[in-house]
């Protein structure tokens, strides 16, 4: 399938598939919808131990014992983790990978969807497989991993040496490291967390625990000179030169770049720092006082704070606006540049900007029904199920993927028309 330009952007509404037929199955599991909205899929149980993936009324030819983690990749392929004869593997569009594993889990894919990776266990050892190619290296444990932006490389948190039961002394010497393409960093750490690749995929940064109460950030196995009380996940500048992380200092949480303060402010808490598309401006979730949360942009917190939680901020493509979801006094708000949209929601999903940054749309939930909100205005229609809306490349249309009265529908709405209505 070609990219988003190739999707059908003709305004209108189409009934893609009726869901009533699914009642003939013993169980219907979690739905997935393709990015272009053309396909809806779900694992269905025909009888205990016999599961198939149903897509737009068609069944994958092969039945498996289990299928889960079903999702469409950005390029439209449909993947699932499947079990056959007690072995696990990945199935893509109904085709199983040749290799089988004692277990396979934690599917991740590149932004373009072309590359697919999964953690695996074989012979009681832990490894990783990218696009069916085994890393070859095996570890005592592996907790999580990150993919490079092109999806060709992976960096995983691995245990490189066995620990005897309750061996706290060996633990303190360090038995964890980051393995990049299967090769662990030479240096071991007490713990390693949150690996991330540089934009060019050539370097890896991660949080490292140097001593029981000393944390830092390491790049390619070399920690910064600066150490901190603790830290959170680092990120790279788009030029790959700077690594930025929130760290805990005696004065409060600080944002540092390559070990040096990049913001002067100290906060009760700080995490989820995000860079603007220009690679310069920075936004992060901060707590300005105990129990008060907001977003700081370039070290300036929004004046309005929220009581419960604020989720990761996101810059508009032109960098002019920042949006974040906030939960306040028990309900969710969509907050743009510090100002909440009108309306409180039972749940809200990460909003999406139009490519030109002029519009913003989000899926929200109220009283068990789902709605699309565009630029603060809810569309009058509500749905039984809904997936996050997508803008057309020109930003003049909105794709809505929804279930209404037992039918999965694909709607393309013209924004001008909506504005007039």
């Amino acid at each position: 399938m070609s990219g988003i330009d190739g999707w059908n952007w003709d305004a209108g509404e189409r009934r893609v598939v009726e869901l009533g037929v699914l009642s003939s199955f013993e169980q219907v599991h979690e739905f997935a919808v393709s990015p272009d909205g053309e396909k809806l899929a779900v694992p269905v149980v025909e009888e205990p131990g016999q599961v198939r993936v149903w897509q737009n009324g068609e069944l994958w030819s092969e039945a498996v014992e289990r299928a889960w983690s079903l999702r469409f990749l950005p390029d439209g392929r449909l993947v699932a983790l499947v079990r056959v004869d007690d072995s696990w593997t990945v199935a893509v569009d109904g085709q199983r990978w040749e290799d089988e594993f004692e277990f396979a889990w934690n599917l991740k894919f590149s932004a373009n969807g072309r590359s697919l990776a999964v953690q695996v266990k074989r012979g009681m050892k832990y490894g990783l497989v990218i696009d069916g190619r085994d890393w070859g290296a095996e570890f005592i444990s592996m907790r999580d991993f990150a993919l490079s932006p092109d999806g060709k490389r992976a960096a995983a948190l691995v245990q490189v040496e066995q620990l005897a039961e309750a061996d706290i002394f060996k633990f303190a010497e360090g038995v964890w490291s980051v393995a990049v393409d299967g090769q662990p960093w030479e240096r071991r750490f007490i713990n390693v967390y949150s690996p991330v690749f540089s934009p060019d995929g050539q370097h890896v940064a991660a949080e490292v625990r140097l001593d029981m109460f000393e944390y830092s950030i390491a790049e390619d196995g070399r920690p910064w000179d600066a150490v901190f009380g603790t830290s959170w996940a680092p990120c790279y500048r788009s030029n790959g030169k700077g690594i930025i992380a929130p760290v805990r200092t005696p004065e409060g949480w600080a944002l540092v770049e390559n070990g040096k303060p990049v913001w002067q402010g100290r906060y009760s808490q700080m995490w989820h720092q995000r860079l603007a598309p220009d690679g310069q401006r920075l936004a992060a979730v901060v707590s300005t006082a105990y129990g008060r949360w907001t977003v700081a942009v370039d070290d300036r917190p929004w004046p309005r704070t929220f009581s419960d939680v604020v989720l990761a901020p996101r810059f508009s493509p032109d960098g002019g606006r920042v949006v974040a979801l906030a939960r306040d006094q028990g309900s969710w708000l969509v907050v743009v540049n510090g100002q909440p949209w009108p309306g409180r929601f039972d749940m809200a999903w990460e909003p999406e900007f139009s490519p030109d940054g002029r519009h913003l749309a989000a899926k929200v939930e109220r009283d068990g029904k789902f709605q699309v909100v565009i630029d603060g205005h809810p569309l009058p229609r509500s749905f039984d199920m809904l997936w996050s809306p997508r803008f057309s490349p020109q930003g003049d249309k909105l794709l809505v993927r929804a279930v209404e009265e037992g039918v999965y529908k694909r709607l393309v709405l013209g924004l001008e028309q909506l504005a007039r209505a």
Partner: protein, 445 residues
Amino acid sequence: MADIEDARVEDAGIDQAVDKLEPARIEAVIRRVLGAGCGARLKVYLQTCVHCGLCADACHTYLSRDRDPDFAPVAKVKETIWEMVKRQGRVSPEFIKKCARIAYTECGACRRCSMYCPFGIDIAYLIMLVRRICALLGVVPVYLQDTVNSHAATSNQMWVQPDDWIDTLIWQEEDAADELEGVRIPLDREGADIMYSVIAPEPKILAQLIANMAVIMKVAGVDWTMPSLDGWDNSNMAMYSGDFEVMGRVERLHWERALQLKVKRVVMGECGHAYRGAVYDGPKWLGWSKPPIPMVHAVEFYYELLREGRIKIARKIKEPVTVQDPCNIVRGRGLHHKLRYIINELCEDFRDVSPRFEHNYCCAAGGGVINCGPPWKLSRLKSNRVKAEQLAATDAHLVVTPCHNCHSGIEDIIGYYGLGMHVTFINELLVKCMDRGDGSGEVER
């Protein structure tokens, strides 16, 4: 006089670390901790105490050890933090060793004593300060430290491998489906109403409890999910070792997972300390004045299901039943009436304990004490004779213990004092008693 047997216990986590301690480092750490905002509150506490001893009768260790004054709450403070303040941190490695024994194994931070102090002096807070100092000095009982290491490396407290977790859920789902058709444990179901989280001993050694919950969720028609990735464990022994950095990391991941799954609330299994970690200590350290989305303890959840009629009781337990009030959800949260409502719904012959509710005695296992492991087991059992006497007086056969620490601690006490009782989680009684709507709901009274 401290128990000579306890003083002789060998614990590599304490002994080896103490051997390496330098007085200068001890002093620096104590000054850092006491200087970091806690000095003022601490001095007020210490100056306020009038040595009346009213707190002594509140403590199960004091009562169980023939009123040995060394086990009085005020003595535990006098012997530890008080000396550190008085001597401005100039204390010996041997002194730190004694502090670790007292703070980790002779006080479970149960907070019963502060209810009896006329000034409300928070002994448990002072003991937690001692633990923080010990943790920073690396002097932590070996089994407790190992649990904290597991939290730090795996985000769960029992080194459960990521695939074992998922595999256990799948296997429990299959077992539960054999019992009741259509039962599922939906993994990573984004947008479910509830994320259910448990503590690592459930997948590791008590997996049946997860299957039971799946049956309960099915019967009650709950839209729920469990996460497949780390963050599924809501427990937190780092909170009790004094490693607040690891505590914060663990709690954050648990809440981040719930936020990613877009659930409206988290329901947690029957555990007390995990409630404290997820609702109070964890959020507080992270900057939240409350959890980012509501956390519902299993006791509150079962109460809700029964009150709303989403679960109906088909048969009741006939044998005599009593209860343990877990400190963190009763003294800490006031769930004792809901707990008794549930027990009375499920059991014909409920025999309450005395004292009860927030005045009930601690199980002596909580607060990280049971996690100090085998070296300290005898000490722990000697420290709770009063609990054995209290339970024996009910003549019950079953003790309902809606907390993992209480469950294990009371089971040990039953064995050591030969009470001939059994412990049970509510979850186990509920699956026996409820109407499953599949014809197995004949009322039998």
